[in-house]
Amino acid sequence: MFHWLEKNPFFFSVGVFVVIAFAGLIEILPNFAEASRPVVGLKPYTVLELAGKEVYKKDACIACHSQLIRPFKSETDRYGQVSLSGEYAYDRPFLWGSKRTGPDLHRVGNYRTTDWHENHMWDPKSVVPQSIMPAYKHQFTNLADIETAYAEAVTVKNVFATPYGDEFQGTRAAWEAHKPAVIAEAKTITADMKNQDVKDAVEAGNIPEIVALIAYMNRLK
C-alpha cells in the first residue's frame, strides 16, 4: 500500500491529511459548547477595560505574566482561588500565557491597587527594588484606543451574542453617545492617581493607556 501511495501524490496527500486531522477532531471539538459557558454573575468587559486589555496585548504582558492559577496549594496561597473555565468566557483571545518571569495576574485586582500600578508601571524598581521588569512610561502619554474597544464590544455582541446592552450599536452616533460613560469610568480611576498630566488628559476627554490598563488590572479578580 505504501509503495502505491508514494507513486500517487494525490492519495498520499489525502492520507496524510486524514491522519493529521484526526486528533483535532477527537480532542478539540467535543469540549466546544461546554467550555465557553460563563460562570454565574460574569459581566462582559466595559469598553475601558477592553481598551486596557488591548494595551495588555499591545505591550505583550503575556510574554512574562500568566493568568492561570493551577490547582496547587502553593499557587492558591500565593495568588488566590483556582481559575475556573467559565471565568474566561469573554476572553477573546485567552491570555493564560506560558511563562512566569513575573507573577500570575489572574486575580491581581484583589491585592493591588490603582496607585500601586501607577507607581509600578512608571518605575517598577520604586515598589519592587529587585524587579527586572522594564518601565512602561510611554503608557502615560500614548492614548488608549477606546473607539476600537467599542468596535470590539459591538462585534462580539453581534457575532457571539456577548450580553452587551441595546445601546451598543455599530454606528458613529451610538459610539458618540456611549463615549461619556467611558470617560466617566476613566475618571474613577484617575481619582486614585497622582500623575497630573494623566488627570488633565482625562479631564480633556483623552484617556492615556495607563488608565485603561489599570481599569483592566482592577477587573482581574
Binding site: 510574554a63 476572553d91 473607539e147 468596535a151
Partner: protein, 488 residues
Amino acid sequence: MQSNAALEYDYSVAKLFTYTTILFGILGMIIGTLIAAQMAFPELNYLIGEYGTFSRLRPVHTNTVIFGFTVSGVFATFYYVGQRVLKVSMAESKFLMFIGKLHFWIYFVGALFATVTLLLGYSQSKEYAQYEWPADVAVVVLWVLWGISIFGLIGIRREKTLYISMWYYIATFLGVAMLYLFNNMAVPTYFLSGGLGDIMHSVSMYSGTNDALVQWWYGHNAVAFGFTVPIVAMIYYFLPKESGQAIYSYKLSLLSFWGLMFVYLWAGSHHLLYSTVPDWMQTMGSVFSIVLILPSWGSAINMLLTMKGEWNQLTENPLIKFMVLASTFYMLSTLEGPIQAIKSVNAIAHFTDWIPGHVHDGVLGWVVFMIMAGLFHMAPRMFKREIYSKKLLETQFWLQTTAVVLYFTSMWIAGITQGMMWRAVDEYGNLMYSFIDTVAVLHPYYAIRALSGVLYLTGFLMFAYNMIKTMTSSRELTEEPQFRSPMA
C-alpha cells in the same frame, strides 16, 4: 528533453530564499540575544523607547526566527531538493518559475510588513500567531503559492516515486495550512461595527478555554510542522547526499513518518496540564507525548545508522559533523519534551525557564544546525564555487555547540530552581519565598544565557560570512561535486 539527458536545474528561487534565510537569521538572533541580555541587565530595555522593551521584542524575535529564518530555510531547501528528487527543472515550466518568484516576493514583502506591525504593537497575543489579520491573509496567499509550486513540480515530474523528503515537505504544507487557518480564525471589528476603530483590529472566533485548546493544538504543532517535519525532510536528503551513504532503512522511515503524522497532533494539550481544559484531554496530551519518542527517535536513529561504517567522515567533513550533532540534539530534545509532559514533572517545569531551555536545545541544536548544513551543501552546487573556508566552519561548529550547551544547562538549572522555590513551604506550611526572591536568584543563569546568545550569534555571523564569500569570491568549480562538498 530526453529523460536520460543531464538536467540543468534552475536555482534562482532557491538562491533568493537562501539570502532571506541568512538575513532573517541574523535579525532574529540579534533580537534574541538582546532580549536574553535584557533579562540579566534590565537597563537594556530602554535602547529604542517603547519599541525596545522585552515584551514588545519577544514576539518579534520568535516570529522572525520561525517565519523569517526557518520558513525561508524550508523554502530554500525545497526549491533545491524538490527539483532534484523529482528529476525536473524549474526552467522547464515558465508558469512554475513565475509562481516561484511571486512566492518569494510576496513572502519577503509580507514578512517585512508583519515585522513592522509587531513592532508597532499590532498583535493577536496568541503565541507564534501574533500577526493580525492582514498579515494572516498574506501568509495564506504565499502558502497557497508554495502549494502550487510543490504540486506543480510533482505534476511534471520524471521520477514517479516520491522520495522521503517529499513526503515531509507535503506534510509540512498540509499541516501548517490546517493549523494556521483554524487558529487564526478572527473577526475584523472594523467591518462589523459600521467602520469604527482601527481596521487592523480583530477578535478571536474562540473564547477562553476553547481558544486555549485551539491555540496549543496550533502552537505545539506549528513546532511539529515548522521545526520538525521539514527539518527531517532536509536531513533525509542532505545526509545521504553529503556522505554518499544510502538511507539505513526504508521501513524505519515509513514507520517514523506515519507514526509522527498520527501521534504529533495529539500532544498539543500537554501545554495545558493543570489548566481548565478537561482532564481526559490533558491525559491524552501526556500519553501521546511519551509515544512521540518512538517516531522521533526512529528518524534520528535511521540517520545515525546511515553513517554506519563511515564514521571516519565525522572527523573529515564538518558538514557531517553538523548533521550528526543535529540529529543527536533532535534525540535529546524529543526525549526532554516528553519528560516535561509528564504531569508531575510539568507541575514544576511549567511557566519556568526550563521551557525556553527545551525549545532552544531543539531549535539551536537541531533546526539551525540542519538548515546551515543544508545551505552549505547547496552553495557549491548553486553558485558553482567551493565552500570558502573549512577552518571557519570548524570554529563555528565548536563555538555554537558550546553556546547551545551553555544555553540549556543554565536554563535547566534556572527552571528547576524557580519551580522548586515557588512551591517551597516552611515547617508550618507557609510559602517560603516571595515571588521576587525567585526572580533575583536567577540573575547568574540569565547572564550565562546572554553569553551563550552572544556566542551563538557570533557563530551565525561566521556562517553568513562564509556563505557570502562562497557566493562571491571562492574558487570556481568546473563540475558539480557528487557527494562531499569541496571546501578550502
